[in-house]
Point group: C3
Chain length 150, copies 3
């Protein structure tokens, strides 16, 4: 099972590195704008960067969960590709948000769309596997036959 | 292994959908009460909803981790059931909290109780597996013999 | 696969218990300093404890992800050991931070170092597995031969 999930694992490690990069940016911003912990408020530039990192952190577990659900139960290729697009969108979101609140919107919508694709493919993969395992119903095979693809 | 975890995976996807629902509620509330990001403070109605979502998000990774530990090392059936009760408790918590700070308490206690059950069954499952694999000690078999169930 | 990951699973459950302990400390502090939800601000003692728990919660999913990536793709022994050191550093961080903002620094650096070790071993493990599975290139074997260890 592990060998078949190594590309998902690579996207996961890449995502962790991106989160580490965001965290470091907050630490640099704390120094630059003299906002010492535990304070989380300060000049707007700092607050935008802080919220950008907080938002990325909040969605990161959700992202990793659906990346793996989709990768294991649906398709490793589709999930990895979605995962890379998500990480790219989050990078643009982070930089866009640190410049202006408006600048976060376009990449935020992109990241949300990709996340919904991963949620959808997770749900589909889990439903198909459930039907096959517990209802002895191979919907994929049935679908292919119906479409006369076989 | 995947086939035996498909019900846990289904509960996981359901949990992700619930988190997505909570996030959408915060977005609607930001519009309704005119609280633009990066601000996180505003009228009490908004702040309660914001904290409700933040609290659910904070516990979501913990929940998913013990759901899977308990499902893989203890019992898929017990874990899935606990998982469904947890998600139901969190839904009632979210709606209760958005109405009043008092309204969050009963479902919060329920969600905490279910979370402790998942932590307990995870710990038990891991300890039993550890004894079997690394100490060559089948405590489950020993327990059943002691109780003369075999 | 599960049997070979039981020590990682044990560290995971220990980590969940630590997070539960931190959460309980925040609940006690809310009572002690009379800071009722949804408020998250109050006397400095409360705010430090609140931020300490928030910071631990934020890093917990990252920690669990690299613990498992490193444990599954690199080495269960190395990862479990790093995991235990990380949990110990986080405990000292939490208590240090609740006493003074200065007191959080030394254990925070330790936890960051261990986290980077886990990220590094995850990346290495994933790269080695990727080369073996998708490029048919056994770098570990090649490395050992080059060092004349075989």
């Amino acid at each position: 099972m592990l060998d078949e999930a190594v590309i998902i694992a690579a996207v996961t490690v890449l995502g962790v590195l991106e989160q580490a990069y965001f965290s470091l940016q907050v630490i640099y911003a704390r120094r630059k704008y003299s906002v010492s912990p535990p304070a989380t408020t300060g000049p707007p530039e700092f607050e935008r960067l802080f919220r950008a990192q907080a938002n990325c952190s909040e969605y990161f577990p959700i992202f990793i969960i659906v990346l793996w659900m989709s990768g294991l139960f649906f398709s490793q290729g589709v999930s990895s590709l979605c995962g890379l697009v998500y990480l790219y969108a989050r990078l643009r979101y982070f930089h866009g948000y640190s410049e202006s609140t408006q600048g976060r919107l376009a990449p935020l919508y992109l990241s949300a769309q990709v996340l919904w694709m991963l949620i959808g493919s997770s749900a589909l993969g889990v439903i198909l596997t459930f039907c096959r395992v517990h209802l002895d119903l191979d919907l994929l095979y049935w679908l292919r036959s119906a479409l006369m693809l076989d």
